[in-house]
Amino acid sequence: MLEIRIHGRGGQGAVTAAEMLSVAAFEEGRHAQAFPTFGSERTGAPVVSFCRIDDRPIRIHEPISHPDALLVQDPTLVHQVLLFEGVGEEAYVLLNTGRSFAELGLGEVEDRLRPGRAVCVPATEIARAELGRPLPNTALLGGFAALTGWVSLDSISTAIRQAFAGEVGEANVRAAKAAHDRVLEKKGRSARA
């Protein structure tokens, strides 16, 4: 079973991201479960959502404390919540930022993980360019597909189109693809390095 935890702020689409990820896995014929931390969140407040993916029915119903992958929609959350709690060295971490782990003072986190597992992608920037709005969630999902290879970009795109109809969906699909390509490129670079 793969367990993914997504951190964001109310309004950034962390809950929808987990749902879309579960739909992408479902499209691939797998079992998936997505759920938010349930709270009286307001816009801007820290939000956490979860997604489990497995080849068998998922019976467990509890929050994910030891994620296999972590998606962070807003790195400034590091000042408010224990973002990296339970994140082992095998885990993947995808950060939405135009900067690097070291520049954000998170070099230690990067060092702790296996090489190539910690990646930054400027999802908000990409979203601004493709959607005209700073909503990083679909771009991050594209990046996630590239980083982990657990779901395909095609499935992510299908899930996005189910969630957003018409041109909005297409713009989000473009954002996912752009982030996907960026992450692939980074992975290629780190593999060559």
Binding site: V23, F26, F38, I60, H61, Q80
Partner: protein, 420 residues
């Protein structure tokens, strides 16, 4: 064929309810029930659910009262609520069951304040366990969907109200794979509503007369008798459902690996899946452990519970509510079922106010039970932060003024709630 979807529990339930063709839905918003009734409001608006009147009432008392009027008028009637909302309709709940009106209601289980808490536990449904409603608990979103379809048939067959309980947020807000029954399948399973009693100008009757000591006991006896009939009807409906839909759902209890089990956990709701995982682990390690999932809590299936548990040496009742000042609620009922047997029953309260019931915590508990470290004569609270309560008890003893909840939050260093 059913449509298999990756869908939020609330949306799935709303679609299943819509396919049961309720003619009147009256509801008042309360988290975590809102997604269900919002979705039904959409379906009414778009005409997908037609004919149906969606009443946006002014309170939960109004919601259940409108349901009473509608059901007495002979319409299939549905509502949903949770927590404080269920308590706010308490008076009308007893009225609906006393009048024998086959209303179906979803309870998206949530804690009851004070302190105010929007997260999941079973205090709400459990507080209404004696309201005369049938109470069915869903362990998954698939079961929640299936139980709703069965609930209408049960309610209308026996002319009594049915509450389908599903864990708030844990199930209502979880997106999972669910087979949502198709319209033709539901139509074949659930006949149109033929009311046993109805307000009709052509045949005027008075419903809700005052009954004095001369017959009140008899009226209440008949309510009880009808609930006892439900103990026979529920398994029949579950069998019919399985035959029609090709998957098991419902019934009174569902034993999981209880054959030859020496220790059996009794539980209701979404924690059942987590406990199954732990049971499998322990079985793999050679421990004879099992689980009894109680789907029907009211009426209480005493004989079935007894049959499933009587061979066990230890029973651990893991429940998301308790009777303050007394102990476990499901535990008390379980003891009743096991009267005269040597089986030892442990009452464990877990998952209050949204505290996750984790596999690790359940595993730890069962390890303790297997090692004889859990005193069966005491009420246990899984994962209780003894540092917090002991500190507060000390302050109480020293007569330090102030509200408990706030002092403990200060002690715990929690600012606001819900932060991860």
């Amino acid at each position: 064929m059913p449509v298999r979807s990756q869908i939020e529990g609330s949306q799935a339930v709303a679609r299943a309810v819509a396919r049961c063709r309720p003619q009147v839905v009256a509801a008042y918003p309360i988290s975590p029930q809102t997604h269900i009734v919002e979705s039904l409001a959409d379906l009414v608006r778009t005409g997908e659910l037609d004919p149906c009147e969606y009443l946006m009432v002014e309170s939960e008392l109004g919601a259940m009262s409108a349901c009473i009027g509608s059901s007495a008028m002979g319409s299939r009637t549905y509502t949903a609520t949770a927590s404080q909302g269920l308590l706010f309709m308490a008076e009308a709940l007893f009225n609906a069951s006393g009048l024998g009106l086959p209303i179906v209601m979803t309870v998206a289980n949530r804690a009851i304040g004070a302190p105010i808490n929007i997260w999941n536990d079973h205090s709400d449904s459990m507080s209404m366990r004696d309201s005369g409603w049938v109470q069915l608990f869903a362990s998954s979103n698939q079961e929640a969907v299936d139980l709703h379809v069965q609930a209408f048939r049960l309610a209308e067959r026996l002319s009594l109200p049915v509450m389908v309980c599903m864990d708030g947020f844990v199930l209502t807000h979880a997106v999972e794979q669910v087979d949502v029954p198709e319209q033709d399948e539901v139509d074949a399973f659930l006949p149109p509503f033929t009311p046993r009693q109805q307000l009709d100008p052509a045949q005027p009757v008075s419903i809700g007369a005052m009954v004095g000591p001369e017959a009140f006991t008899e009226v209440k006896y008949l309510m009880h008798a009808r609930q006892m009939q439900a103990l026979d009807e529920i398994p029949r409906i579950a069998a019919d459902f399985e035959a029609a839909f090709g998957r098991p759902a419902g019934g009174l209890v569902r034993p999981y690996r209880t054959d030859d089990a020496e220790t059996v956990v009794v539980a209701l709701g979404s924690q059942v899946g987590t406990i199954e995982v732990v049971v499998d682990q322990l079985r793999d390690e050679g421990h004879p452990v099992g689980l009894l999932d109680v789907t029907c809590f009211r009426p209480w299936p005493r004989d079935e519970v007894r049959r499933a548990l009587a061979g066990a040496a230890n029973v651990v009742v893991l429940e998301k509510a308790f009777a303050v000042g007394a102990g476990g609620i499901v535990g008390q009922n379980t003891r009743l079922a096991l009267a005269g047997t040597p089986t030892v029953v442990h009452d464990v309260v877990a998952g209050l106010g949204g505290r996750p019931v984790t596999a690790a915590a359940v595993r730890g508990l069962l390890d303790d039970v297997l090692a004889g470290r859990v005193d069966p004569h005491r009420l246990h609270f899984l994962g209780l932060r003894t540092d917090l309560v002991d500190g507060q008890l000390r302050r109480d003893a020293a007569s330090v003024p102030g509200p408990h909840a706030e002092s403990m939050l200060r002690e715990a260093g929690v600012i606001g709630s819900g932060s991860h």
